[in-house]
């Protein structure tokens, strides 16, 4: 009797398992297709822009934007490279990204480290002083007035760096990172007679490379993608960073006319659509290239920020 029962039961379990297995299969198919569709949607715009940049202008106007060039042409790139616009914008963007990130990191580290030292008496007050700026600000107009009228930084390349070089958010993230370093390390060095600056440079920084890299990349991405300060304070076109150059091309402000002037073509003959796409490709190219190497730092950085933000 009992044996029959157990046999029956195992049969039942097998049946359920079979059913579950089938369910699993269906679920897996759904999951994989949703992910594939979402990723496809994420990547399609990149492909369309790349394809359009290599499409003959007339074909582009007639056939519209496509995943594959309807008529291959490198005309747009030839025109872009025939002027120094793109080259200039690259120079500005690379300068602000490299120099800006470096300066930002020096200031951020110098602030984050003392605020992570538990024995510093006024660190609470100073943290609050910084924290308040995240909650309440003067807004756009007073800052604009300060930078343009009182600091007189219009059309100066440093205006793309200095007014935005510190981020309270990044500073606190780095401080949290320093907080996780055991204080004994610094204390024992102090007993040996090292001063705080030496401790920071010789002991804290070398073991904080992952945190420094993450925050540095946050700043770097910010500088690379910035255009707002350029829009506010820069009117000389040779000081345009890449992202603002694109914005100008998109809005057709003066840009096409200057292009036509330099290439000796009339504005109507310029391949304006493929030209827009070619400059876009050249703007995002470097980012796509380094993306696989830097992505993991952003993912881990998000985690640090999420745990104690």
């Amino acid at each position: 009797m009992e044996q029959i029962k157990t046999v029956k039961e195992t049969k039942k379990i097998k049946k359920i398992k079979k059913k579950l297995h089938k369910q699993d299969m269906i679920l897996d198919i759904i999951i994989y297709s949703v992910v594939i569709i979402f990723c496809y949607l994420c990547i399609v715009p990149f492909l369309v822009v790349l394809s359009a940049s290599f499409t003959d202008e007339l074909a582009l106007v007639q056939n519209g934007y496509r995943l594959w060039p309807s008529k291959f042409s490198t005309e747009a790139y030839k025109i872009v490279f025939s002027t120094d616009k793109m080259f200039n914008a690259y120079k500005v963007t690379i300068f602000t990204t490299v120099v800006g990130t470096f300066i930002s990191m020096v200031f951020t580290v110098a602030m984050a480290y003392p605020l992570s030292v538990k024995s510093l008496k006024y660190r609470g007050q100073i943290s609050l002083f910084v924290y308040f700026t995240m909650l309440f600000g003067g807004g756009l107009v007073p800052s604009y007035l300060l930078v343009s009228k009182y600091l007189n930084m219009k059309n100066n390349i440093w205006v793309l760096i200095i007014p935005t070089m510190l981020s309270a958010w990044n500073m606190f993230m780095l401080r949290n990172f320093f907080n996780s370093i055991p204080p004994d390390l610094a204390e024992s060095a102090k007993i040996d007679g090292a001063n705080d600056v030496t401790i920071l440079l010789k002991i804290i920084l070398p073991i904080s490379v992952p945190g420094i890299a993450t925050i540095g990349l946050f700043y770097g991405l910010g500088y690379w993608n910035a255009w707002f300060n350029a829009m506010l304070y820069i009117s000389k076109s040779e000081l345009y960073p890449l992202q603002y150059l694109i914005m100008n091309i998109l809005r057709n402000i003066q840009f096409m006319a200057e292009m036509a002037d330099k290439t000796g073509m009339s504005v109507g003959n310029l391949p304006s659509n493929s030209l827009k796409m070619a400059t876009t490709v050249l703007t995002i190219g470097p980012m796509i290239f380094v993306y696989p190497f830097i992505q993991k730092y952003f993912t881990s950085g998000m985690m640090v920020g999420a745990i104690k933000g």
């Binding site: 990723c39 510093l120 756009l140 009228k149």
Partner: protein
């Protein structure tokens, strides 16, 4: 140049600090002086940063006086005439303020709801993928749009929404439908902006949720499997309930920024297109435009102050709520 100035500014402020020490140390208890001297290197490290925050975050607060002035650019802050609350009276009586406030809040509510839903949904799906290689590649691809600036995204948009040549309109025409007039029809923009925001941010938004789910106790899932729970049941009975606190907290914090319009996104994509203002003009774009085109700095400052003020109140309220929901998660 700028590095030089920042170095220079460091020196006098150190002198100032030491003067302060001398002055204070003589008459009152000298614990302040002692503390500064004991940690002099640490405080010296803090000085450049503090100066930066004073200049670029606190000095602009002085400029808020402009909101109460009939501001004149030539006369400056100290020369312009004070007019009390006149700027605010004008604002609160005009229709604009309510339109831009409504647009800002409405768009942000849409962004928060759709963004959170899609991010959680994608996170639930990503953790179900067993193939490591596939998982890594798809995750990287889904995060990629977050690294593009909004000006680049705006360029991408032209390929899709252009009249006649854009992919969307081409597709509509090929099935015999009418084109969508993206550049003149304001009614399509709330949905378009929501879709764009999802495209740009949903993949990045999954990171926190995925990490939270991975941190959950594995034994619970094993026990559920032994009890015969299907994968769908595990998601609905285990993962989602355990994820709830995280979802609630992240949502509460994004509600704190509900009066901040996404200037970068909206200005890069809409630009100065008056036809689309009815649904897309937010507080931030309005302030920028009134600064650039109207040049009425007093009025623009008043709008900015209004935004900062209710934004600040919002953060305080949200923090109270967060404290009530989960005491550990309050910001302050």
């Amino acid at each position: 140049m700028a590095r030089k100035t920042s170095d220079n500014s460091k020196v006098p402020s150190n002198d100032k600090a030491s003067n302060k020490i001398k002055a204070k140390g003589k008459n009152k208890d000298n614990s302040f002086l002692k503390e500064l001297w004991k940690n002099k290197f640490l405080y010296a490290l803090l000085v450049p940063g503090i100066i930066w925050f004073v200049v670029f975050a606190y000095v602009p607060l002085v400029g808020l006086i402009m909101a109460f002035q009939d501001f004149n650019f030539v006369k400056g802050i100290f020369g312009s005439k004070l007019i009390g609350f006149k700027n605010f009276e004008f604002l609160f009586n005009s229709k604009n303020l309510w339109v831009i406030t409504w647009n800002t809040v409405y768009l942000n509510v849409l962004f928060i709801i759709t963004g959170t839903t899609v991010a959680v949904f994608l996170a639930l799906i990503f953790v179900e993928i067993n193939n490591k290689w596939f998982k890594r590649i798809t995750q990287s691809i889904s995060i990629l749009p977050h690294f593009m600036s909004w000006t680049v995204v705006a360029m991408f948009m032209t390929a899709f929404i252009s009249t006649d040549t854009g992919i969307i309109n081409k597709m509509l025409m090929s099935v015999g439908l009418n084109q969508i007039a993206f550049y003149s029809d304001p009614s399509v923009w709330p949905v378009s902006l929501v879709l764009l925001k999802i495209w740009q941010g949903a993949g990045f938004g999954t990171i926190i949720y995925i990490a939270t789910i991975i941190g959950f106790d594995k034994e619970m899932y094993e026990a559920a499997q032994i009890d015969g729970a299907s994968r769908l049941q595990q998601v609905s009975l285990l993962t989602l309930p355990m994820l709830r606190p995280t979802i609630i907290m992240l949502t509460i914090f994004s509600v704190g920024g509900i009066f901040k319009g996404d200037f970068g996104m909206i200005y890069a994509i809409i630009g100065d297109n008056p036809l689309l203002y009815p649904t897309t003009d937010v507080i931030d774009t309005f302030v920028y435009r009134s600064l650039r085109t109207l040049g009425d700095m007093g009025m623009s400052t008043a709008v900015g102050l209004y935004q900062s003020f209710i934004g600040f109140l919002m953060v305080l309220i949200v923090n109270k709520i967060a404290k009530a929901v989960e005491p550990d998660s309050a910001i302050f």
